[in-house]
Amino acid sequence: MSFLPTFLLALIAALPMGWALWAAASQALDVSAWQALWADPQTLRAWGMTLWTGLASTVLVWWTVARLLAHGFIRQQLARWLTHVPALLATPHAAMAIGLVLWLSPSGWALRLVSPGLSGFDAPPPWLTTQDPWGLGLILALWLKEVPFLLWVAATQLQREDLRRRWQAEFALAQTLGHTPATAFAQVVWPQLAPRLRWPLLAVLAYGLTVVDMALIIGPATPPTLAVLAWQWLGDADAAMQAQGAAAAGWLTGTLLLAGVLTVMALRVVAAMRKFASRGSLPQSQTTDREGWLPQKTPTWVSYFCRRLPLQPNVMWTTILTTYAAVWFALTVGSVSGVWPFPQLWPSLWTGDAWAQVIASAPTVWTTLGLAAASASVCLVWSVAWLELTPRRWQQALRPWWLLPLVLPSVLWVVGLYSVALQWRLEGQWLGLLLAHAVMVLPYVLLALEPAYLAVDPRQSAVVASLGQSRWTDLLRIKWPLLKRAIASAWAVGFAVSVAQYLPTLYVGAGRFATVTTEAVTLASGAQRSLMSAYAALQMLLPVLAFALAAYLGRPRQFEKIGSMKDNT
């Protein structure tokens, strides 16, 4: 009975995805293109840069999130931190990169703050502070964006009523056995939580290794990362160069798969080592390091010094929040700045010209809004239908498949999706663009909706049915209203992901459609600071509005306040 809907829903989603992957694979396996790829002097260095930035940022993100979670769980600060996370998540990657450039570039605010007084500079120094050849700017930007993402995914697990209760009980129990809070967390909660973060971590790794929009803005230029190089080749007029780009996308995918396998193996090894190390160890006394991140035999002076480094979770979290606030501030001020000669802290001329220009380009904004709303809605309807109609076994079996857009490089997807659009005669059309966006948005919407949807007690529907109410009554009056918060926020997540899409918009849209993101990224290489800032600010503002709308629609019901007279019968 459930076979037909399962089959149809799977087909609807798998057909474009499978077709795109097949098309991309067949293009990426062109022998002459691979020869050209290896003959190109940039390839190897670009690949090295990709490995460095992708792996370094992923390791940093994992380490940071592990420490934040330990601290947040032990001190019960997670809930407080998480109130800020939606705003951080809603900040698109490109806007973050542009905001960082406004601070860190030679003519940026960081240097203006100390010029000419402390630095002695009257003109911007010829430094490579943003597109630095070591990729440090890119690593910083990735770290800032991915830490909130991974923290948020972890929090959705920790906020599941069943898990939260069980883990808190086990955590308390471990302490009654004589373990410090830090070891209780590290040996009881973390080993259960970490495997659940494996997929999101792979998404972080995939993003770090294959990001294009951020790398175009803040990443190194000579050579750029391999993803950027592939993107540049794909945009070349020469068909041979395009084939070389497709081959590079294939190489990037292979790299990613290998790195993913190695990451999973590394996590297993670390977990096994932890188990081995804890075997037979006596409970530690309460006097040892409270956070448990320094080795046991650290000399006192070293741990004293380390404690004063800005590595405490609270300090790290505050740093992240401050940086986001600084980025938002820079984008806002930048968007209304006119003439702004170098050492001056503030613009000498304020102007609304950039915003007037943005408003004049209303079609760009409408395209962005329409695409985001449509793709989020399509994916939401599909996800709800999938979670409601298909058996749990099938959901689990096919889950990795739906998450593929998260973990395979977007350069590979655009190659495939463009072929699909060509073959279905949708290239350069709104419908083709919608399809491309929907494929990229789907995993996020599904991931955002799934925990809440599956946490619904199945006995609830049994009760509704036993009251003589039909399934539709259950869905419309009980189940979906109770899930409205999760549904609304899943839609907003999809909306935000669509707004931030750069490659599919440009490539599958055949350059005929401009969105605030394509405008912002394109302007980032130019000199129109105010217009670039305005588009970047708008790119950030639209998802924020979507999240605000979702929060309003998903707000819990306010019951009449009645005095706390409870009888105990």
């Binding site: 749990r392 007690d457 199945p458 006995r459 609830q460 529907s461 049994a462 009760v463 509704v464 049915a465 036993s466 009251l467 003589g468 109410q469 039909s470 399934r471 009056r477 009980i478 209203p481 109770l482 819990p556 019901r557 019951f559 009449e560 009645i562 706390s564 409870k566 009888d567 105990n568 019968t569």
Partner: protein
């Protein structure tokens, strides 16, 4: 034996494991049958098979298969969907709908064939019977455990079921509260003159010592009640 609830189970279990075999029971109207047994013996699955909610029990595990027949007052329920069976269900958790007030929870159960004024009158009456007059507008999460349990039972009864299944309805309450609630629940369900099946693992919950059936972990010998 047309009147009452007749449950005939040839086999109930997953493909790999049989939970209940050759169980035949009859509950006349106005009587309460107590089904007892250790956890995992399949007593809740018997209720799920009767109510037609096996899918909600087996979610995520091996699907449960039911081979047998359920009849209520001569009507064969076996292939009917739950909402057409007229079989009420109360769990150990009250499962009140969190987005509705207490009164709205009750109103949701009253058949919509009646005019609204009459439906609301029934809700008010139910509130009174549950000793919750004036609490209709409350958020269900502000009620005590005992109050919630009473609302859950009233909600089930307002739907005018022709049979009622109680799945460990007292197991989340403390001993004193159970002792108070038991006679109240039994009096209310007997008043309706419908067959009732109560599942429990606590001897003290037994409603009628004349009508008790013990299930063992895996059943070999046939039962007839």
């Amino acid at each position: 034996m047309n009147a009452g609830l007749q449950i005939d189970i040839e086999r109930l279990g997953t493909a790999a494991q049989t939970l209940v075999q050759d169980l035949h029971l009859h509950v006349p109207a106005g009587e309460i049958l107590t089904l007892m047994g250790p956890s995992g013996c399949g007593k809740s699955s018997v209720l799920a098979a009767t109510a037609g909610t096996l899918a909600s029990v087996s979610e995520g595990l091996q699907p449960l298969q039911f081979d047998g027949r359920v009849q209520l007052n001569g009507r064969d329920l076996t292939t009917l969907p739950t909402h057409l069976r007229g079989v009420g269900l109360v769990f150990q958790d009250a499962l009140l709908f969190a987005h509705m007030t207490v009164a709205e929870n009750l109103l949701f159960a009253v058949p919509r064939t009646l005019p609204l004024a009459q439906r609301q009158a029934r809700v008010q009456q139910a509130l009174q019977e549950a000793e919750l007059s004036g609490m209709g507008e409350r958020d269900p999460s502000t009620l005590s455990g005992g109050q919630r349990a009473r609302v859950a039972l009233m909600r089930a009864l307002l739907a005018e079921p022709q049979a009622l299944l109680l799945d460990e309805p007292f197991s989340k309450l403390d001993a004193a509260l159970r002792a108070q609630l038991r006679p109240w629940v039994f009096a209310h369900v007997r008043e309706r003159r419908i067959p009732v099946v109560l599942v429990t693992h606590d001897e003290q919950d037994v409603a009628d010592p004349q009508r008790v059936l013990h299930l063992r972990a895996t059943e070999e010998s046939p039962h007839h009640v």
